[in-house]
Subunit: 424 residues, 4 copies
């Protein structure tokens, strides 16, 4: 019996899908302890936008350690943090005229959401949050109340309160869907929140992902997001964009909402922001919101991670020149071109996505599971997401070499067709 | 205006107490960007038990990075994780006959507490948790409900529910305290929880720190902890020890409860477990509790941190031989000997602590603040904790050289006496 | 200063609308202490379906008192209760093949709703209740969470939890309404409750009024109620009809849902059930639901009111022969015929109602208030309801003489036209 | 099968203890439909302080009905209400210099508690209420959260929130009790509520019965009540006395707290206030608290009960002259003298009470149940209360003739001794 079977909690999950022991990794390739190689279309759940052991970051981090740079500093000032903040301001915020402050917290996405909810509630003196069907925002009690999936909610042990869920404004309408997604929902919310006898009161904030990655790669339409932003403004509610999984370049620009002409009050970032897999979480908060914080009110021991600042600074470098984002557009097209025929071939398949994030909704979890397993055996790591795990998520490192990308896509299409058989 | 003033959130805290920019650090010394050195009696809020840039860990981590070891792996298996788990099992769990499983989660203490609460509630089919006055357990909504300090609670924005607070069983009774601490509280709880007309129902779990570090270095008596453990057993409630700040060797043994003859169902670990400041959080959960988890129910992107596994494995090395723990006993005595006279000299001073963790309760926050500031100017980093910040916390790296320890203590005592003046 | 000004709570309300002291009353006429007479189109908020001091009931009650009948008996058996239950069973339940049990509780509508929520939650092991926009269900904390009007909700002092509000299925669509009422809402709920990643879970019960009297005389369509009943069945949720204000004959049949072919699990009754204004509240609960109660779990001191049983038995008499219900149809038509022209004349007016309950929605509260005041001065008691008090509610005793009915309607129309002026 | 078995809810309770059908009643005697007489030591759960069908009230009520007095008036003014309010002010409030306003609500005790909680929360802008072990305050969700007995709490179906329970300050210490009742609890609360790191915040109100009738006839000491009142004042919390069961003359004065030199902000009254068993509920609220109500914020259809005003006015007559209250003292002594020997005879028996309310705590519910059943068979109605039903409650009408009182006490003692056997 391995140490994992003997001593690791029954809660372990991904190791059941990929039942090997990984040893080393470089850019888009992971190698197990038997030497078998895998192309990584999972990227650490969207963390590793710049690949495993990104060479630039690796060098910077080793140099930092060698020089005895401060590894751990809570919210004291450090030179590494100063560099990160300066570079982020210059490269990301200033070109967008974003006046937002940077708030660091315990380095997990769920902590960033918890912090966002706290300040939104304080500023508005309201308690209710509106989140959306299929949204994923974390596992701690405040964020979990916003997460839609009943698998996670059922573990809470206490009622999940102070959050209302409305239908997400998908760009594509799933067949058979009667939720009345899209702008109808915005109008319904406007009516409900404007009527003092509706039983509902305007929320502290609307919390939304522009693309629900865990939720099944559901893509909100630009029009819907703009309507939502307008509604938030009308109601005096904050708009919080959870860009934890789809920010940091995934969609071909730093933020997933770039170019959508919306102006979020808070942006939650984690996963990719620390660059190469060491943790960081950071909220961008408008100054008029941020000023309501008192010093030290929302702490977190690991909120000052030196290595993440160093690697994260290197990551920002990818946004100082257009090369990588241009590549994302090219590679994204390659991805879509490769999988689009599946949608045509199978009635039950729907393809959704943007940038270098795509989901193949195969209609049910069993089918998706079989495809994931077949790919794994064939040296490709993909993962299922969405309700009942019915969507195969493609989220490779943005830096994946084109030949690996193409070969992996071929593998994926091959196994999908094998599992799904002749066209429906 | 510095980037910090221009762009960092108003919530920043420690940087206001230590208004410099730290650059490098080694063992118990931090150096700011002006080259000024500070002896570190804060240790990253108890994370850096083995010092900044611990040489053993530094080498191991650099080697790991150079070899392209997996940095980030969620809950997939990795060779680094295997080594960590094997070493932890052999060195820590087996000698204590602890059958506990290891559960990894988002790498912050608050996430570990949230996970513990979830499983405790599920197993017992109860919702209420008992926590204690002055306890500190984290910032996310579930853990925050257990944290006692109103400064943190007031930021929640929603009512904090499903947690009852009872007086903590301090070894020393603060003057003027009428909470009826100690075993009286255990008997009161027994009465309340045994009476079906008390308005209270037996809790899912009792969540307790053996020493409340943030809460003011309040030390629970062994007798009280044993009574609490017995009560938990009687009521069918779990006993959860939050050893996040005072575990990992701080008290002269790996767990703070070693030698107390209590048998917790869950132990929460974070801070020091990752070795040198990179994040890790891990719960030890009895198998009969752990088996109630379903795979993937409590996730967290950064729950598989390669560097933390590598450094954390090195940290375990310090428990394979008796040297460091022996040193802790010696240095702890040096600390107590240095500060004990203050308690004699000043009526309002109370000294509390164990191992290499001591608190000097100077009676009010203003006095403590003045002492902290004077020490900082004189090159010593200490921090205030407890209600209103009235307790100066001494928590140096366990590996601090003896001469630095003594010199820092002298600095501390000198400034305490300067600030407090002639004996009361 | 009157005793009312000197000593009655500031919360007093109706006495501000009708600033006189009432002394006597008979059928549809109330007389103040100055001898001025008023036709009563308010009927004690829908309690006095059979008029003030109904002669049949008056005699029966006086005889009962004279004979030393038991006045107050909690849930002991009494002969008066036996008679009431037998008569109710024979006249109301058996002809409808309703197997429901009768549950008596503290004699207010809100207590009946609280009891219904408790047993629905127990039976389904779920916590959430679905109520509807503009619904009114009472003032105590459990029922208040179901009540939609923010005026009442704002007095709760604590968050109102465990209830979701959806748009009510009005027969008529208010102009400008974008809630997507009607069957669209049923389909939306079906989608949300069938999707395990919607963030919502199927409710314990749907709680609905067939006509929202306090909410503005909003009439649910038969089709919508049938769809709702079907959805409840699908989801394993209970259907609770709150017939407190519109049951007991108000719509021309005992229950407001008679003839709609729906089969509620619980029916809440109060107001009119006690016959002549003494309190009673009673739930009708299907045996398979009711059997989950344990004896004495939901008590209420005044749940056994002898006078209400006696008067209530007499009230049942009105359902043993068709006369009164036939009259309701005739008089209801008279009401509608009198006020329907207002809808034609004024764009902003909408007429809604059924049986002998009508609402004139005049578009805003100020207009309605002026009309109510003018009617009062002219000897007619009407009241405003709905959001912002924009709807004038007509709810006379069912036993009102036809000439009084016609004269009162003329008064009402006259003042409405005076206040609203020439046609818009 | 009787109609009760066929059609009454399984929740019915007292009818299972007294399995007969009551028909008539006069003062302290109830008669069943077989003509069997029972002396009533239960008085409708403390409602019938002035006996069944009290002759004074009966005449007044019949006259009122005959003259077509207004039976039901919500919170409109009526002449019957004016008389009641004037008489209550003159006889009860003015002699005590109580400036309180009278607030009427849905006529059940639980509604009065709900109203008190709402205004207390609003005035203090706090949510938490402190209630006490063994307290009973009602069945609706807000009041139920204050009720201590798990039998009732378990029916709520949702978590009961925003209320903390502390040990009640019994005058007598139950053997084996380790709750640390009495002033120790007051000091503990003072410490907890004064410490900003206790996890507790000062409550909106302390809600307390001076004698817990349902809770087992537990009598608070005057000293404890005064300490509690002082603590409330210190903390800016309201003091709410729930005098629903033990007010209205039961203890030998109108209020149970008369002569205790405490000054409650709110007094909740119901049960006996309506005089002869028709419902009324009324809160006395200090003007500076009451002024925070907005008109109509806490409604209740049956809040203006004409018959209860009429009978209640007659009840006030008993406080205009000293006769009845003098009698209560004499009869209370007779009661105590009769049962005190049981306490001496049986180790497990404890006698508690005051005025004409006594409890015989026989140590366990089975014993109490057997005594209650034996008394019933022998023509005496008594009831069990307290945890597990271990206390026999003696609460006869205050107007019971002395010979009936003595004979009933003899019956009770006889059966107690029969059931309990020779002295322990």
């Amino acid at each position: 019996m391995s140490i994992f079977e003997a001593r690791e909690s029954e809660i372990r999950g991904y190791c059941r899908v990929y039942p090997v022991v990984f040893d080393t990794a470089s850019n888009a390739v992971q190698v197990d302890d038997q030497g078998k190689e895998y192309i990584d279309f999972f990227a650490g759940a969207g963390v590793l936008n710049f690949g495993h052991n990104n060479e630039r970051m690796k060098r910077a981090v080793i140099d930092y350690i060698e020089s005895n740079g401060v590894t751990h500093s809570l919210d004291m000032h450090s030179t590494a943090k100063r560099t990160f903040m300066e570079r982020f301001t210059k490269t990301i915020l200033e070109p967008r005229d974003m006046p937002h402050k940077m708030q660091f917290m315990g380095p997990t996405g769920t902590n960033s959401v918890e912090a966002a909810l706290k300040i939104a509630r304080r500023v508005t003196k309201r308690t209710q949050i509106v989140a959306f069907t299929h949204g994923f925002h974390g596992m701690t009690l405040g964020a979990l109340a916003c997460t839609a999936n009943q698998v996670f909610r059922a573990a809470s042990g206490v009622p999940l309160q102070h959050v209302s869920h409305f239908p997400f404004g998908c760009e594509k309408t799933c067949s058979g869907c009667t939720m009345g997604c899209g702008n109808g929902v915005i109008e319904q919310m406007r009516s409900l929140y404007s009527d003092t006898s509706s039983g509902l009161q305007p929320p502290a904030a609307f919390l939304v992902e522009t693309i629900q990655a865990e939720g099944g790669v559901n893509v909100a339409s630009k029009e819907w997001l703009q309507s939502l932003a307008a509604l938030a403004k009308e109601l005096g509610s904050l708009l919080i964009i959870d860009d934890i999984q789809v920010g940091c370049g995934r969609t071909g620009s730093f933020f997933s909402f770039d170019g959508m002409d919306i102006d979020p009050d808070i942006v939650c970032l984690a996963k990719g922001i620390g660059g190469w897999g060491t943790p960081m979480a950071m909220n961008l908060v408008k100054p008029e919101v941020d000023k309501h914080w008192n010093p030290g009110e929302h702490t977190g021991t690991f909120r000052g991670q030196g290595l993440s600042f160093v690697a994260g600074s290197e990551a920002i470098g990818y946004f100082e020149t257009p090369e990588l984002m241009d590549e994302v557009k090219v590679k994204g097209k390659i991805m879509l071109d490769a999988i689009a025929p599946l949608e045509k071939k199978y009635d039950q398949v729907q393809i959704r996505g943007r940038g270098m994030l795509y989901g193949i909704d195969v209609g049910d979890g069993a089918t998706a599971k079989a495809i994931v397993a077949a790919c794994f055996d064939d040296g490709l790591l993909v993962s299922a997401c969405g309700t009942g795990g019915r969507v195969i998520k493609l989220i490779p490192p943005l830096t994946i070499p084109q030949d690996q990308l193409e070969s992996a896509l071929a593998t994926l299409v091959k196994h999908t067709e094998k599992v799904m058989g002749g066209a429906a």
